[in-house]
């Protein structure tokens, strides 16, 4: 590395002397100069750069491949799909995304405001418990709703046994296998995204604005609508983006309830071996995602809010008064549908399952598969995140921010598309690895690396670059600085990222479904299949185990917000 530096200096200085007797051709010199300028005179070592570039390439492979595949699918196929499937899919996907987003935002904001700003009894309990649905994967939620409200569900039996209900409302009007069923379930399990971000924003909000409004003669409801809500707009935007991206990428819940959005269509096209059509549908979904991200970035640029710092004071807690009972009722209803119902249904069936011997060696085999795949994924994500954040933070340049952007691409990339990209590549170029354990891990990395990058980035940004320089001046070459100083100090952040990735991997469904080798089942896959065949006593213990594993990082997230 040192040798290379020497070389660069030589070239660089020759350039300044006006180039002359040096043997290097001018183009090479100007390239060297450009290279140095790109890195602001501070290029990283080759190993670090290669690691970063490899990560960037891995992250971009599936998306590039899907786009390329769809563009080479032929005009005829495009026209057929555009005429027949795409309009319906667009309507299904967009209407669902819009409805769920609106509902999740309303629920999330209202809950956050109630449990943070009012004197509702059991404040602390509600603050924690209302974030819990985040630990319940929507496909697990869907299973429990099917058990309760489905065609052979508990409520149906109850309904048909009460002649009064049947005579007034007709024969069982509830149908979970519908738009409204999917809408309700996704809303119940995605509102915590908005709720958590809004709670954090409400806690940080500066009381002075509200006092100013009050001094100008506004009452509580005016203040909420005109001051609080408008200050919450960035939080609402961020939460809405997360929810709408989630809805567009969700496969499990949608597939369980037999509602067809893009992800489900892609999955079933591919299952029918029409990969070209699957690629086309994927491209349309990618474009939708990009449009949403673009709208968000535009609206964020338009609205910049600054909270005046320095004069932060505890927010005033508003007395609910006569609204205490309605507020409590509202919060309890959300709690009932998003936490109590799914957990108790799962507990009930798990209990039956365990007594019927569901925790057999097969079950532990699935659990072990889940554990293996999630452990390897989280270890690799921690490892890959490191060069990405180190480059971005310590060697700022176009190249390092490009790698960083690519590392985040998986965030918005639906699992089915990532899986599709890997199917193309491995099928055509790496048949030896096709449908192996390692292929799933690679696809998982593409999907979940952003979580590891995000937490690592947060922790490296707290380490002053002066710390690196101090270590350098004390005789450590850059790689040693990374090992002896940077990594030990980043460790909590790296581990937190690893934990998040671990849980996401445990929950993951579509990628595993599409890429798993024959006979390789994880807990998530088992939940999907057993629930499909209504063998609930086998699905429930696996689902419960997934939820329990997810609660651990939830604690981390809650402490962060």
């Amino acid at each position: 590395m040192c040798k290379k530096r020497k070389n660069t200096t030589k070239l660089n200085n020759a350039y300044f002397r006006g180039v002359g007797k040096q043997a290097f051709p001018t183009t090479l010199l100007s390239f060297q100069k450009k290279w140095l300028d790109t890195w602001r005179g501070n290029p990283p070592g080759p190993i670090l750069l290669i690691f970063g570039l490899i990560t960037g390439i891995i992250m971009s492979i599936p998306i590039v491949y899907v786009i390329w595949r769809s563009l080479s699918a032929g005009a005829e196929r495009w026209i057929r799909l555009l005429d027949t499937r795409i309009p319906q899919l667009l309507w299904n996907t967009l209407s669902l995304a819009a409805a769920v987003t609106i509902c999740a935002v309303v629920i999330g904001i209202s809950l956050a405001w109630i449990v943070i700003r009012t004197d509702i009894p059991g404040k602390k309990f509600w603050q924690w418990i209302l974030a819990l649905p985040l630990a319940i994967p929507p496909y697990v939620g869907a299973v429990t709703y099917i058990i309760v409200f489905g065609r052979s569900g508990w409520t149906r039996d109850l309904w048909l046994n009460s002649p009064w209900l049947t005579s007034t409302f007709g024969i069982y009007p509830i149908n979970v296998y519908s738009f409204w069923g999917v809408f309700l379930i996704l809303s119940m399990f995605t509102y915590p995204y908005v709720y958590l971000i809004a709670s954090a924003a409400l806690r940080k909000m500066n009381n002075n604005f509200e006092e100013a409004a009050r001094s100008l003669g506004m009452n509580t409801s005016q203040i909420f609508w005109r001051v609080t809500l408008s200050l919450l707009r960035p939080a609402i935007g961020a939460g809405a983006i997360l929810v709408s991206l989630y809805v567009m990428s969700d496969f499990g819940a949608v597939a369980m309830l037999r509602y067809v959005t893009f992800t489900a269509a892609i999955y079933f096209q591919r299952a029918g071996f029409d990969t070209a059509s699957a690629a086309i549908l994927s491209l349309v979904l990618i474009l939708l995602t990009i449009i949403i991200l673009w709208i968000e970035s535009v609206s964020r640029r338009k609205n910049k809010y600054f909270q005046t710092a320095g004069t932060h004071r505890e927010l005033e807690i508003l007395p609910l008064g006569k609204w205490k009972v309605p507020a409590l009722l509202y919060v309890s209803i959300i709690f009932l549908f998003s936490v109590l119902l799914p957990i108790s249904v799962l507990a009930y069936w798990s209990n039956i399952g365990i007594r019927m011997g569901a925790l057999d060696s097969r079950f532990f085999g699935f659990a072990l598969n889940s554990l293996k795949i999630s452990t390897l994924t989280s270890l690799l994500c921690m490892l890959f995140a490191l060069p990405v954040v180190y480059l971005k933070n310590r060697y700022p340049s176009i190249i390092s921010s490009a790698i960083d952007r690519l590392a985040y691409a998986g965030y918005a990339l639906p699992g089915v598309i990532a899986a599709l990209g890997f199917i193309f590549i491995f099928n055509n170029h790496l048949p030896a690895l096709y449908r192996t354990f390692y292929m799933i891990v690679l696809a998982f990395i593409v999907r979940f690396l952003p979580q590891a990058v995000q937490t690592s980035e947060a922790s490296i940004s707290l380490i002053s670059p002066r710390i690196d320089e101090a270590a350098r001046s004390l005789g450590c070459p850059p790689w040693k600085v990374l090992l002896k100083v940077i990594i030990p100090n980043m460790l909590p952040g790296i581990l937190a990222g690893g934990a998040l990735v671990f849980v996401s991997s445990i929950k993951e469904l579509p990628v595993t479904l599409m890429l798993r080798p024959p006979g390789f089942d994880t807990l998530a896959v088992r939940v999907y299949f057993e629930a499909h065949e209504a063998v609930y006593h086998l699905a429930a213990p696996a689902a419960l185990l997934i939820i329990i594993a997810s609660i651990i990082p939830l604690r981390y997230m809650l402490s962060k917000y």
Binding site: K6, T8, N13, R40, G41, E469, A470, R472, S473, G475
Partner: protein
């Protein structure tokens, strides 16, 4: 052999209009403490970072103890320069205790003894097991200094080391840091924008502005004989007047009349000059030639800063700063007379 030798070093940041440092030449002798003094953006930190090896000079050479560190065909990375560095925020390793911070990167067989010795030197005995967040600001600075000195560096570089300390501690640490560096025998370069730091601690001061050395000299030289208007105004308080040199070698003609120095100014007659009169060279008394009235009074404790408004020869108003003894009771608006004591009057060519 000089401890540090900088030859015509130049650094221009990509995208910047002007060079941050241009054609800077500087030599520092072994054991000397030098301060690079200047306003922010004057290039002092860039110079320091080039010596440490964190920035690469576009041009010129850097030699430390006779070894070329950076030149047109040499580049030694910071870890092999043998330079100790103390950072503004100390940059202590948060995951290591005092002992391991000081011993970081020190691998010789006498590690334990050396660390103990240096911890003793900075008066931190008994704190070896503490972590940086358990230390006060002054203690953190001692650790930073000990860490930089542990490997017996050729040169120790200190980047605004006092700026995050409060005033009391700052005065104390100046003396303490000077003692430690002198005892260790290291050659030191400080970077500071605070003239008090510079005057108190340095053997010599290098005043910089716009990437160029304005003047190098001992603290007394810099204060008493500033070479140009920038140095005169940046170091200490002063009154600057425009003028012309008179026929004899001693006098300068200004709006306040002819001012006669005790020493020759060494300039040709009739040259355009600036005259710098320190507040201490203006005395308020009854015999003074200059008549004015008090415009502003600021009580500082040791003295009172008084701004005196004077009508000059060309009928313009001049505001002159002077110090009054705190026991003297003067009021704003009161007429006073000023006398110029010719000792600390500097005359500088207006083009310098």
């Amino acid at each position: 052999m000089h401890a540090i030798e900088l030859k015509t070093i130049t650094k221009k940041y990509p995208g910047a209009e002007k060079a941050a440092v241009s054609n800077l030449c500087l030599t520092v002798e072994k054991g000397e403490i030098v301060t690079l003094l200047g306003p922010s953006g004057c290039g002092k930190s860039t110079t320091l970072r080039m010596i440490a090896g964190f920035k690469k000079a576009d041009k010129g050479s850097i030699t430390l103890a006779g070894n070329i560190m950076s030149s047109s065909n040499t580049w030694i990375p910071p870890e092999r320069r043998g330079v100790g560095m103390v950072f503004q925020d100390y940059a202590l390793f948060p995951h290591l205790n005092v002992f391991n911070n000081v011993g970081f990167g020190y691998k010789d067989r006498d590690r334990k003894e050396r660390i103990a010795e240096i911890i003793e030197l900075v008066n931190l005995k008994g704190y070896e097991k503490r972590y940086p967040h358990q230390l006060s600001g002054g203690q953190q600075q001692r650790v930073a200094l000990a860490r930089a000195l542990a490997r017996k560096p050729v040169v120790i570089l200190l980047d605004e080391p006092f700026s995050s300390l409060d005033a009391d501690l700052r005065n104390h640490m100046r003396l303490e840091v000077k003692r430690i560096i002198k005892e260790s025998g290291a050659t030191a370069i400080f970077v500071s924008h605070d003239q008090k730091d510079a005057l108190a601690i340095s053997d010599s001061i290098v005043v910089m502005n716009h990437g160029i050395i304005q003047q190098k000299g001992t603290p007394q030289e810099i204060y008493q004989y500033p070479r140009n208007k920038f140095v005169a105004t940046f170091v200490g308080q002063t009154n600057i007047l425009k003028g012309k040199t008179g026929e004899d070698k001693y006098s300068v003609i200004t709006a306040l009349g002819a001012i006669r120095r005790t020493q020759p100014h060494g300039l040709k007659p009739g040259e355009e000059v600036y005259v710098s009169i320190r507040p201490d060279s203006l005395e308020v008394n009854h015999e003074g030639q200059i008549k004015g009235y008090i415009k502003e009074l600021t009580y500082t404790g040791q003295s009172i800063d008084a701004v005196v408004e004077v009508i000059a020869d060309d009928n313009t108003k001049l505001h002159l700063l002077t110090h009054i003894h705190p026991q003297e009771h003067k009021k704003v608006g009161e007429p006073v007379r000023l006398e110029i004591i010719p000792h600390f009057i500097s005359v500088m060519p207006s083009c310098a």
